[in-house]
Symmetry: C2
Subunit: 221 residues, 2 copies
């Protein structure tokens, strides 16, 4: 299809598509003339993912280009695909300098206790250590013992995540779904945590003359 | 103490402190002369929290001012303090328009199933619904049934969170700790999820001639 039809079917303006092509976010179409190219279903799928990463997740154009270019084209092994795709997208963490050996040791101890097997170049390990360093600077001492129950619960979360990836046909579709689930479920998990905090906190600290509860509002609708 | 000593003890430059005062992020000192004010330990504690929110969490100055001004001064009830403090800080979610009634219903159904009691004005509920809407637009249909096991695990996470708040003496200290734990543990949880995904994914898709594992690197140190 031409770029005009690609625009119509994807809902992305032609000017925006051209911008994505210029910035290397979207793979070029097949050139058919000096100033013309053909696009296919793959481009529609990619545009959808690009919009998700930029509009919904708020990633920068350059980060999005980095992710899109790391999408496998012929990879069928799920673990390798996930490693490739998830390895390039750090969670929304402000990097705050190198962690000290102390935090590194705590993270190593945590991973040993959990029995997790991680790739040596996995950036997640360093990210975790430097985040602990930031917390410790603020007087919140968090070590392996505190993290262990959190990590065990997140392992159960990861199992739920992988269950969602089950029956995806192609590598591109799998990569797309892995990105969407991993990145876009992050805010969902954090919101659920806030809601659960509010609920459990209310249970622990029952107050007299409490505010109307959500269940009551629902009933009023 | 004078502003110069406040700067020295907090490690924040005088010009930055003056900026925070102008922007209403830091509460003013007690005026002692036309152009002079006295600061106390409370200001040091607040400056530490401000730096945490701006530098570590990457919040804007105006959001930080909003949070700082909602800190209770004489509140002793833990639930009210948490509600006040946590209510103003949305998780790092891009708001993406209003959710449709369908997503609202799914969220209501989820909350009913969980038996969670939430404040009717809690923004978390709307945030969750509009995030689901974004996911559904991307072809990822996520409803109450999919979310239920995630929510149950996040409720266990929230219990761990509340355990961390146990023995905090004053309301300001409690609010500070609640903010630090809630906001700064978010990246920790997300990183742990990525690590767990990597580990569990490897377990599910064992590959021949696998890459060296982290345990082996640790042993080499």
């Amino acid at each position: 299809m031409r770029i005009s039809e690609l625009s119509r079917r994807s809902g992305v303006a032609v000017a925006t598509i051209k911008f994505y092509l210029r910035e290397g976010v979207l793979t070029p179409g097949r050139a058919t003339a000096a100033n013309q190219a053909e696009y296919d279903e793959d481009h529609i799928r990619r545009l959808r993912l690009i919009r998700a990463l930029i509009s919904v997740r708020g990633l920068s154009v350059s980060t999005t280009a980095h992710i899109m270019n790391s999408l496998p084209h012929d990879e069928v092994n799920i673990h390798r695909t996930l490693g490739l795709v998830l390895g390039v997208i750090d969670p929304a963490v402000e990097q705050s300098g190198a962690a000290t050996p102390r935090e590194q040791r705590e993270v190593d101890r945590l991973i040993d206790t959990l029995g997790w097997k991680l790739h040596p170049r996995s950036t997640t390990v360093d990210t975790l250590a430097s985040t602990l360093e930031s917390l410790n600077e603020l007087g919140v001492e968090i070590g392996a013992d505190t993290l262990l129950p959190y990590a065990q619960l997140m392992e159960q979360i990861a199992e739920l995540d992988l269950d969602q990836l089950g029956d995806v046909p192609s590598a591109l579709a799998l990569a797309e779904r892995a990105i969407i689930l991993t990145i876009l479920l992050e805010p969902v998990l954090l919101v659920l945590r806030r809601m659960a905090q509010e609920h459990r906190s209310a249970l622990r600290n029952t107050v007299g003359g409490s505010a109307p509860e959500r269940g009551q509002r629902s009933a009023e609708r």
